[in-house]
């Protein structure tokens, strides 16, 4: 890919990160915060993928895989916390 396209995509994804931060600041509730953090993790995965294209290195996508795994676990535990008051109860 041309370098300019990937540069523009990285800048765009950074702007999306600001939008996700605005969403997190406007959240009135625990579940809204959980949802906003889920969306923020998705945007960070997009950013890491674009960074991997930019530098032509595959390690950033592996980091994105680990981040997706952590996001799934944290979302499940936080949803369980909202429903029952604790992750193991």
């Amino acid at each position: 890919m041309p370098e300019v396209v990937v540069d523009i995509a990285a800048g765009w994804a950074t702007l999306l990160l600001f939008g996700g931060g605005l969403l997190l600041l406007r959240a009135p509730d625990t579940l809204h915060r959980v949802l906003a953090l889920d969306v923020l993790v998705a945007i960070v995965i997009i950013l890491l993928t674009i960074l991997s294209y930019l530098r032509d290195v595959s390690y950033y996508i592996d980091a994105a895989l680990a981040l997706a795994l952590l996001a799934l676990t944290s979302t499940l535990v936080a949803a369980r916390y909202v429903t029952r008051g604790g992750p193991f109860s």
């Binding site: 890919m1 396209v5 949802l35 889920d38 969306v39 674009i50 996001a71 949803a79």
Partner: protein, 95 residues
């Protein structure tokens, strides 16, 4: 050359999907309404951006990206479903 165009188009479509989902998230009033654009950001936007790896032509990047695509295909509906069920079953007295 063709691969470059395809990769740039996939990157643009993925970021456009993420932008549309984020605008929807900022405009929707309720958590059940907000789950729909959130599913757009966490599912198709990530997958389309990861599909743009065909333009890099590097085997390592394509292998890792296919793994992440399979993982996201499984986990994105799971997390959305967990949030929806928690919103449905949470106790009403607590904010």
């Amino acid at each position: 050359m063709i691969l470059d165009v395809v990769g740039a188009a996939l990157l643009g479509v993925g970021l456009l999907l993420a932008t549309i989902g984020l605008i929807g998230l900022l405009r929707m009033p309720d958590i059940f309404h907000q789950l729909h654009p959130a599913g757009l950001v966490t599912g198709p936007a990530v997958i389309v951006v990861l599909l743009a790896c065909v333009a890099t032509g590097s085997a390592e990047i394509i292998t890792s990206a296919v793994l992440v695509i399979l993982f996201v295909l499984i986990t994105s509906p799971l997390s959305t479903h967990a949030i929806a069920q928690a919103a449905l079953r949470r106790p009403r007295s607590r904010p």
